[in-house]
Amino acid sequence: MSIMQNMKNKFSSLFDVFGENEPKRIGIYGPPNSGKSTLANRICKDWTGETLGAEGPMPHETRRAKKRENVTIEHNNSKVTIDIVDTPGVATEVDDKEFVTEGMDEDVAKRRAREATEGIAEAMQWLREDIDGVIYMMDSTQDPFKQVNTMLLGIIESHNMPAVVLANKIDLEDADAKNIADAFPQHTTVPVSAKKGDNMDDIYKQIANKFGD
């Protein structure tokens, strides 16, 4: 968290007096294809009636961070207003051959790879400078000990940011949300299916608890 962000947090109660407290920026982070845009769209649709952006099965569909401001989420008697930031999936490598294998033209694949690298760098800059809290998504059919998960959650913890961990894709046959909960016991893990909308109420409860005042 930047020095400015720390200062802003420290004085947030003072701004409250004047009604100027800004909504917290909550970033949706995770590896490519973990379901971040699907979740962002579902949250935005549930609370604003509109989706945020395109989603798709090919990795790196989101190559620019997208923000929806002033999303007010209510759970029981709690209410929190946040800005949702859907970020590009973070990886340590981007290979255009992956897109060619999926049937993409070589030139288009090269351009997509370049945009993906720019998007990942942008996601890391958001995390360093502009994000107040994180919804971290993992695919529960995948190994939770992927290095990108341990690296990103380590970075998030080092910034003392509140975080909610989601074990997504529980609608799939080989999903194992317990694997994720066991790998990261210091976080509350919510098993979800962003695609089917399973357990969304649990997510809203966690958002209200973690990111509310």
Binding site: V90, A91, T92, E93, V94, D95, D96, K110, A113, R114, T117, E118, I120, A121, M124, Q125, L127, R128, D143, F145, Q147, T150, M151, L153, G154, I155, E157, S158, A183, F184, P185, Q186, H187
Partner: protein, 132 residues
């Protein structure tokens, strides 16, 4: 600059004592790592990277990617075996010691097109190196 290692040359693995890179600043350390990995080296760091260095590594790697010559890095370190939830991930991955200084775990970093991780758990990292 490091000497470029081609796939015809074979695989070069450098084991780095902490003393080799601990005196470097973060930017210098990440530059050193990326320059070597870009040139085909596989580096084994006795003591790994802290969270801010991981963040810098991802950003700088993305800036260096060129689809014709360098597609990124493969990096792996042990998660700490402790199940002590009070330590947090930072404590578990970086295994903080009693003085609360991060004690970072051994880390392997190599070019993504030559090294693929096959398996990782709390006691074992297995990687396949591509020599073809």
């Amino acid at each position: 600059m490091s000497e470029k290692i081609t796939q015809e040359d074979g695989i070069r693995i450098d084991l780095m004592r902490d003393s080799k890179i601990s005196g470097m600043g973060k930017t210098e350390k990440i530059r050193y790592i990326i320059d070597h990995v870009r040139d085909g080296y596989i580096l084994i760091l006795e003591s790994g990277l802290d969270p801010s260095e991981h963040s810098l590594l991802i950003e700088k790697t993305m800036a260096e990617i060129d689809q014709d010559t360098f597609t990124g890095v493969e990096v792996e370190s042990y998660p700490d075996g402790s199940k002590d939830t009070d330590k947090g991930l930072l404590g578990r991955v970086f295994n903080r010691n009693q003085s609360n200084t991060p004690k970072k775990n051994l880390t392997v970093i190599g070019p993504a097109d030559r090294m693929k991780t096959l398996h990782k758990d709390e006691t074992h990292i297995s990687a396949l190196l591509n020599t073809s």
